[in-house]
């Protein structure tokens, strides 16, 4: 298989498959949990309160508001920098947006300056290293960490490492860009099947607990 065919494969059918699995998987998770709650756990809906869902989301999305964020400043900075970069860099990278605008979507949207995206990539990689080291040396994290948790971090870091190398033309660009695309696709496709799914389940649990604490128990949940 020539490099060109391979490129077409990973940017064509494989990309479609990855996005389909990612979006379909997340939707399925959302629908399944909602169905399960309706059928087997109806008190969840009985006490859901929009105001407190939003309040809880907001309070936990701002660094240093929640008590636990304030107790561990370094971790807080790292986790916020990580999550913001992790989402913003791939979505708003000029090269990615161009693929959307010239390709399927035909729309263009706001992009990050390349230099900013480049730094964000570095941040994601460094944060992954931090998380891995933390899982090795902080006893309460180490105690509940197994090999899968490290694989998860590698899975997340790989598209960023390869993207960084490709952008800076380190190594064989053609190989690197294909590795970048493939690792990104594997990452996307794995989200619904691993704890990376906290992307959708996290806000659902947060919202529910925000309602319980806010609407039922009349107390802060942060």
């Amino acid at each position: 298989m020539s490099m060109h065919t391979l490129y077409n494969l990973v940017t064509g059918p494989l990309a479609w498959a990855a996005f389909a699995i990612f979006i379909g998987g997340m939707l399925a998770k959302f629908i399944y949990l909602t169905y399960l709650a309706k059928k087997k756990d109806p008190t969840v809906f009985a006490y859901l309160s929009t105001k407190h869902v939003i309040r809880s989301w907001f309070m936990w999305s701002v660094p240093f508001v929640a008590k636990n964020w304030r107790l561990r400043p370094l971790f807080t900075v790292v986790t916020f920098a990580f999550h913001i970069s992790l989402l913003a860099a791939p979505i708003f990278l000029m090269a990615h947006v161009m693929m959307w605008s010239e390709g399927v979507l035909g729309i263009s949207f706001w992009t990050l300056p390349d230099q900013v995206a480049d730094w964000m990539t570095v941040i994601v990689i460094v944060c992954c290293v931090y998380f891995a080291v933390r899982r090795m040396i902080v006893p309460e994290a180490k105690y509940v960490t197994d090999i899968k948790d490290f694989l998860m971090l590698i899975l997340v870091a790989l598209p960023f490492i390869t993207g960084f190398l490709a952008y800076h033309q380190i190594g064989d660009y053609k190989v690197m860009i294909i590795l970048h695309i493939v690792s990104g696709e594997v990452w996307l496709a794995m989200i619904p099947f691993t704890w990376l799914g906290h992307m959708i389940l996290g806000p659902m649990v947060r919202g529910y607990m925000g309602s319980e604490f806010g609407a039922v128990r009349h107390v802060k949940d942060w």
């Binding site: 949990l33 399960l36 709650a37 087997k40 756990d41 008190t43 969840v44 009985a46 006490y47 809880s56 936990w60 929640a66 008590k67 636990n68 107790l71 561990r72 971790f75 902080v138 006893p139 309460e140 994290a141 180490k142 105690y143 509940v144 960490t145 197994d146 948790d149 704890w195 799914g197 906290h198 389940l201 996290g202 659902m204 649990v205 947060r206 529910y208 607990m209 925000g210 604490f213 039922v216 128990r217 009349h218 107390v219 802060k220 949940d221 942060w222």
Partner: protein, 444 residues
């Protein structure tokens, strides 16, 4: 840490040990799979799938902090040693594993829900530990002492094997006693159409009868139109909620509410108890499918606050000791009553100092969640497991702890004693009764 491990090995509990002797791996698997496969599925699914194993819940737990940050005491560590293997192995776990799970779930977690406030997702570890206890209950592995109280609930509808005549006698005895102080004093039984139905916990008629006297005296002085039932329903406590015997929990709560409804009262006021509040306001009603309460239920903290603010009880004298306020989990993380509690305490004890952390972030007493009810065999588990509470109390320099919850009293007394803190512990009712203006009392 090594001392701890050894200590754990020698804790024997006939409830756990004799129950385990009758178990087979097949029975364990069947019970685990039916429970995890049919009950509260959505929350269980969401909590277990969302957890990223970060350990951020750890700093919330008094057991973890008291054991020099030993990770097996962290909230997620306890889930790792109980629920995770049950799910992962599809119920195929050993009898020894279940014994350990029963011990962890019943004596190393107070279901205080502090960790819920520390998890960035709000994962409810207390809910998962409750689910473990539910499995333990179905396998008949529940620690003996708390199982005895659950049996009492089932046989007598109260926690302490109090017979009906003993209950009525306890009330009449207190009425009789109080008439020396307040000549017109009554504890009206079954008075239909009263404003307030006052409910207490089993231990009050059994061995803390003065608390009934005090509460009734406060109501009498405040001119409250109240009643207490002569039949079952008077006990708002609920150990079945903590053993995972939810069927019995439902029966207890229905009896409690129906007894109030029969008397056509406007509201139920309950004594200074934390867990009972969780049972009547949070857990029991849900089991019965009641979103709202059929009769409004008000905790004493709130009721005393309302009486004080309305000027129905007035301050005659104040206590000049330095005091601190202990927030019970179930009245703060369960209802946010921290400011009201402080306002009442401060009116009588102006010299108050905060413990840190406080309010909704307060450390648990380590007695709640049914842990103290597991009895003497497990006493040191909770006392050693709450060294952090002793440190927190000591740092205040206070001589008096105001704690509006029975379980907290039990737990704090043991801690104060073991760590030699020389602090007194009082209920709000204690200080109000002693220091309110008594216009209806005989003059001395």
């Amino acid at each position: 840490m090594t001392v701890d491990t050894q200590e754990k090995k020698i804790i024997e509990d006939p409830g756990i040990d004799q129950g385990a002797a009758k178990l087979t791996p097949e029975k364990i698997a069947q019970v685990i799979n039916t429970t995890l496969g049919t009950e509260n599925l959505a929350r269980l699914y969401a909590y277990t799938k969302t957890c990223v194993h970060c350990g951020l819940c750890s700093d919330a737990c008094h057991y973890f902090l008291s054991h020099d940050r030993d990770p097996k005491y962290s909230p997620v560590g306890k889930i790792k040693n109980t629920l995770w293997p049950m799910i992962k192995n599809k119920g195929k776990v050993s009898v020894e594993f279940m014994k350990e799970a029963a011990r962890i779930a019943h004596t190393e977690c107070n279901l205080c829900r502090r960790c819920v406030q520390y998890c960035p997702f709000g994962i409810d570890t207390a809910f998962m530990i409750s689910t473990v206890r539910r499995i333990v209950h179905k396998l008949a592995l529940t620690p003996q002492y708390i199982q005895d109280t659950a049996h009492s609930h089932a046989a007598t509808m109260n926690q302490m094997w109090v017979k009906e005549d003993e209950w009525i006698d306890a009330l009449m005895w207190q009425e009789d006693e109080a008439r020396d102080e307040f000549p017109d004093f009554r504890i009206p039984l079954d008075k239909e159409g009263s404003d307030v139905y006052y409910s207490v916990i089993g231990p009050e008629p059994k061995f803390r009868t003065q608390l009934i006297y005090q509460a009734a005296a406060i109501f009498h002085e405040a001119g409250v139109d109240f009643t207490m039932p002569s039949g079952t329903g008077w006990d708002n406590s609920d150990m079945c909620m903590f053993t995972g015997d939810f069927e019995m929990m439902g029966r207890l709560k229905r009896d409690h509410y129906e007894s109030a409804m029969k008397l056509k009262v406007n509201k139920i006021v309950m004594g200074e108890c934390g867990h009972a509040y969780r049972s009547v306001y949070d857990m029991g009603n849900r089991w019965l499918g009641w979103r709202e309460m059929p009769v409004p239920i008000i905790h004493s903290i709130q009721y005393f606050y309302e009486l004080l603010m309305a000027g129905k009880i007035k301050v005659a004298s104040t206590i000049d000791k330095l005091a601190t306020f202990h927030d019970p989990c179930n009245t703060v993380r369960g209802m946010g009553l921290h400011e009201m509690g402080r306002a009442v305490a401060k009116a009588f004890v102006p010299n108050m100092v905060e413990m840190y952390p406080n309010r909704e972030h307060n450390y648990c007493c380590a007695a709640g969640g049914g842990v103290i009810n597991c009895g003497p065999p497990h006493k040191m588990t909770r006392v050693h497991g709450n060294k952090i509470k002793a440190e927190q109390l000591k740092a205040t320099g206070a001589e008096l702890i105001v704690a509006p919850c029975h379980n907290c009293h039990g737990g704090l007394e043991d801690i104060v004693h073991h760590y030699k803190l020389d602090m007194e512990i009082k209920f709000l009712g204690d200080i109000i009764y002693e220091h309110m203006v008594k216009t209806k009392a005989v003059e001395e």
